[in-house]
């Protein structure tokens, strides 16, 4: 593991989709996928419960969409119990990752339950842009492990709330003028 992507257990889950250990010969498109992620050419990545969307700049804009199953109410409840003791912050230790797994809460994406689409015409599955998005997602989850549980339905667990100052990147444009888009 190079460590550049998937340095934490949270990110590594997604890196494994791009580099499955069961396959002996790595995907020949992988170096190019890494290079796209490394060059910040996977952009506008949005992560919401059950879904990830992103735009990959590769001879045009390639719109990628990935959906994953969310946890049911009972699972969300168990996850809250596991996370209860964690201090507010961006990071979650890998031990929490293990504790969630032990509590029967799957975090790693399962190719069998994943649905993916990409705007490109490639017949290859996964296509280059999907691979690049997996790699980028690995990095994003390294940076903010809490987003891994947001993806599974724990919406209030992402960004710490209630700070007196809010970075522009965290301001929601949809509710900027009010709840109903009225201006």
């Amino acid at each position: 593991m190079s460590g550049e992507f998937g340095a934490t257990a949270w990110g590594h889950d997604w890196l494994r989709l791009a580099e499955p250990t069961s396959i002996t010969r790595p995907d020949p498109a992988l170096p190019r996928a890494r290079s796209l992620a490394r060059g910040d050419r996977v952009r506008d990545l949005e992560l919401t419960p059950g879904q990830v969307t992103a735009v990959v700049d590769d001879r045009g804009e390639r719109r990628v969409r990935i959906t994953v199953p969310t946890w049911d109410d009972a699972q969300v409840g168990r996850a809250r119990v596991v996370l209860a003791d964690q201090p507010a912050g961006a990071d979650l230790p890998d031990t929490v990752h293990a504790a969630l797994r032990d509590a029967g809460l799957p975090l790693a994406p399962d190719p069998a339950t994943l649905t993916t689409t990409c705007g490109c015409t490639s017949r290859k599955d996964p296509c280059l842009h999907l691979l690049a998005t997996y790699v980028e997602l690995a990095r994003r989850l390294d940076e903010r492990p809490r987003h891994a549980v947001v993806l599974r339905g724990l919406t209030d667990s992402g960004t710490p709330r209630g700070t007196a100052r809010v970075p522009l990147g965290l301001v929601d444009p949809a509710t900027f003028y009010g709840p109903s888009r009225v201006r």
């Binding site: 700070t163 007196a164 301001v171 444009p173």
Partner: protein, 642 residues
């Protein structure tokens, strides 16, 4: 009746800002926290819309604001036309707002209800939740964040009389500038997240913001940690801005007892060295607020002081530094592990998560994502952003303490000189001048008076403080002039600053250089983008006509007898062509002749038979004093007597 933008929304013509972000086309209101002004915006001609609605006029301006971009998928920084109105008339107007022909946004409707609540001193809690982003979208002075709805409403409430939290005239709060009051409120709110890093640029008043926080929280006890060179400064500033606070000095050999007397509400003042050596004792106290000043002292996470600081307990943890911290991951981690433990996770893991993208590849996208994590917990404002509020020239006196070595030499120098008396006539004049010179050299550095070959650091209060200040200035990408009246002092400064601050040659412009060599030094400092950040100058050699406006800081390392000469030197940087605020730092060693001279100049001290005119007190005036008078002037005063 002019055509106003109330109708603009109906027309096909697009009303946009310079960078093509669309205005909402209806009138909005937000509170500009660091300016303490309401801003009316949202349409191309807000002044016209206000006039049509019969509202009070204000100051037309271009307001930095956060606004959704054209795709409405992201919020970006932009500028919009706006009208600024002072809090009182704005609250009055908002609270009596009546639907008119002008279309208004949700932000204005909610602010109208908030204004009514503020006027009647009612709770605003529920209204805070209803205020849309447009109502607090003014870009913070840091340029990367906006203030939350809660922070904006609280600031608005503070800014008007009868708001329930108004600051009483003459109080410390009232003395602060609006951006400082915002900083204090931010630090207090930061307790909910552990604390924060106040990283305002040097000269913006971090210390006074810190003191305001300590004064506002009477619970105590509080702990202030700073470099030894700043202990005196903190004691003075605390006495000046918050005289009601009891200050306990936890330094020196008999410090053990003083910690036991750290009562609620008091401030314990100590140095990083003491924290290193007394980590366990200090960790036993439940502090209310801990302030680490010059917190770059704990930038090495493995250093003993950094470990000791992390082990302290407090309800609010504040780190203050003028050095930018965001792009050096280890330093960033070390500071934030103190202020916001847990935010960044363990250090090795933090490096793994961010080092490659941020440090090695310098990815702007990754740096921005890191900023989204740390940005709410670091407040850094630059003088250039606050500039409209700042005068063109700021003068700061930097008081430094003598080291033990300095005090021994200083007292011995006095004893030697007065033992046999100073004589009379020409002989007396010579002896007095020699004594004054020796004492001033000791203040500059003991090595100048009694060479030992020992390393220079830690032996002179002024030199240590100068190195700290210049490191901060250089780290911020600014340039500084350092003036001294002694050639030997200049050479010593050049050596020390090269070793401790710049790592490269620090040029020294003095009378012994050829005209072409001087010209070359000046050109490289003034015009070369890669030129040296620090230029040392001999006070006498740096005559008229030099243009050194590249410098935004001037340091007077030693005092001259005539303040006019110092002003002339300062004007090398503060002159026509200077577009930035220039900060003049005048160093002086407390309890020495340097302090006595400063007091004479400031009119705080008088000597019989000596008139202090525009030219200050001359050396020749001092030769006319009797031995006893002179000794009383030069003798180290008992600390705190003056």
């Amino acid at each position: 009746m002019p055509e106003v933008s109330g109708q603009a929304g109906l027309s096909e013509s697009f009303t946009g800002t310079a960078d093509g972000v669309a205005l909402p086309e209806v009138l909005q209101v937000c509170f500009v926290v660091e300016l303490e002004r309401f801003a009316w915006w949202g349409v191309a001609d807000p002044a016209g819309a206000l006039a049509e609605a019969g509202q009070p006029a204000g100051q037309e301006t271009t307001l930095p604001l956060a606004l959704p971009d054209r795709t409405e998928r992201a919020v970006i920084a932009t500028e919009v036309p706006a009208v600024l109105v002072a809090p009182e008339p704005a609250i009055a107007a908002l609270s009596t707002w009546w639907p008119s022909s002008v279309a208004v946004g949700e932000s204005l409707r909610v602010w109208s209800r908030i204004a009514t609540a503020i006027r009647h001193d009612r709770a605003v809690e529920d209204l805070v939740r209803e205020l849309p982003t447009a109502g607090h979208a003014a870009l913070g002075l840091d340029g990367t964040t906006i203030w939350s709805a809660r922070a904006a409403v609280e600031a608005a409430r503070r800014s008007v009389a009868g708001g329930g939290a108004h600051v009483s005239a003459g109080s410390l709060q009232a003395m602060l500038r609006p951006y400082q009051r915002a900083g204090v409120a931010w630090l207090e709110a930061a307790a909910a997240h552990g604390g924060g890093v106040l990283a305002d640029q040097m000269g913006l008043g971090k210390t006074v913001q810190g003191i305001a926080v300590l004064a506002a929280r009477r619970a105590g006890p509080h702990l202030v940690v700073c470099p030894v060179s700043l202990l005196g400064n903190w004691a003075r500033e605390l006495a000046r801005f918050a005289p009601e606070i009891e200050v306990v000095s936890y330094t020196g050999p008999d410090r053990g007892a003083s910690l036991d007397t750290a009562m609620p509400g008091s401030v314990v003042l100590t140095s990083y060295g003491v924290v290193r050596g007394n980590a366990a004792a200090l960790a036993e106290t439940d502090w209310d607020v801990i302030v680490l000043d010059e917190a770059q002292q704990i930038k090495n996470p493995d250093a003993l002081a950094a470990r000791a600081a992390r082990a302290l307990h407090a309800r609010l943890r504040v780190a203050m530094t003028g050095t930018p911290v965001e792009n050096r991951l280890d330093e960033l981690w070390s500071l934030m592990a103190f202020t916001n433990p847990g935010l960044l996770g363990s250090r090795a893991r933090f490096r793994r998560r961010f080092a490659v993208a941020v440090e090695q590849r310098r990815s702007a996208a990754a740096a921005q994502r890191l900023h989204e994590i740390i940005g709410p917990h670091i407040l850094r404002r630059l003088k250039s952003d606050v500039a409209p509020e700042l005068p063109a020239k700021i003068e700061a006196t930097v008081v430094c303490a003598m080291t033990g070595e300095q005090e021994r030499l200083y007292r011995a120098g006095l004893d030697d000189a007065f033992r046999g008396g100073l004589g009379s006539g020409i002989q007396r004049r010579g002896r007095v001048l020699a004594l004054l010179t020796r004492l001033k050299q000791i203040c500059n550095h003991p090595e100048l008076a009694q060479p030992t070959g020992v390393a220079l650091g830690g032996r002179s209060g002024k030199l240590d403080r100068t190195a700290e200040m210049l490191a901060e200035i250089v780290d911020s990408g600014e340039r500084a002039l350092v003036f001294t009246q002694y050639r030997k002092t200049g050479e010593l400064l050049a050596d020390h600053l090269r070793d401790e601050v710049t790592g490269g040659v620090v040029p020294f412009l003095h009378g012994g250089l050829s005209a072409s060599a001087r010209e070359d030094l000046i050109t490289r400092f003034q015009d070369d983008p890669d030129g040296p950040p620090i230029l040392i100058l001999s006070l006498r050699a740096a005559g008229f006509g030099l243009n050194l406006t590249r410098a935004t800081h001037v340091v007077h390392y030693d005092r001259w007898w005539n303040p006019a000469v110092e002003d002339q030197a300062s004007d090398r940087a503060h002159r026509i062509g200077q577009t930035h605020t220039v900060t003049i730092h005048t160093l002086l060693t407390e309890r020495t002749l340097e302090e006595a001279i400063a007091e004479l100049h400031a009119g705080k001290r008088h000597l019989a038979g000596i008139a202090t005119g525009d030219t200050g007190v001359g050396q020749s005036d001092l030769t006319r004093l009797s031995d006893d008078q002179l000794r009383a002037l030069l003798e180290p005063a008992v600390r705190g007597r003056r």
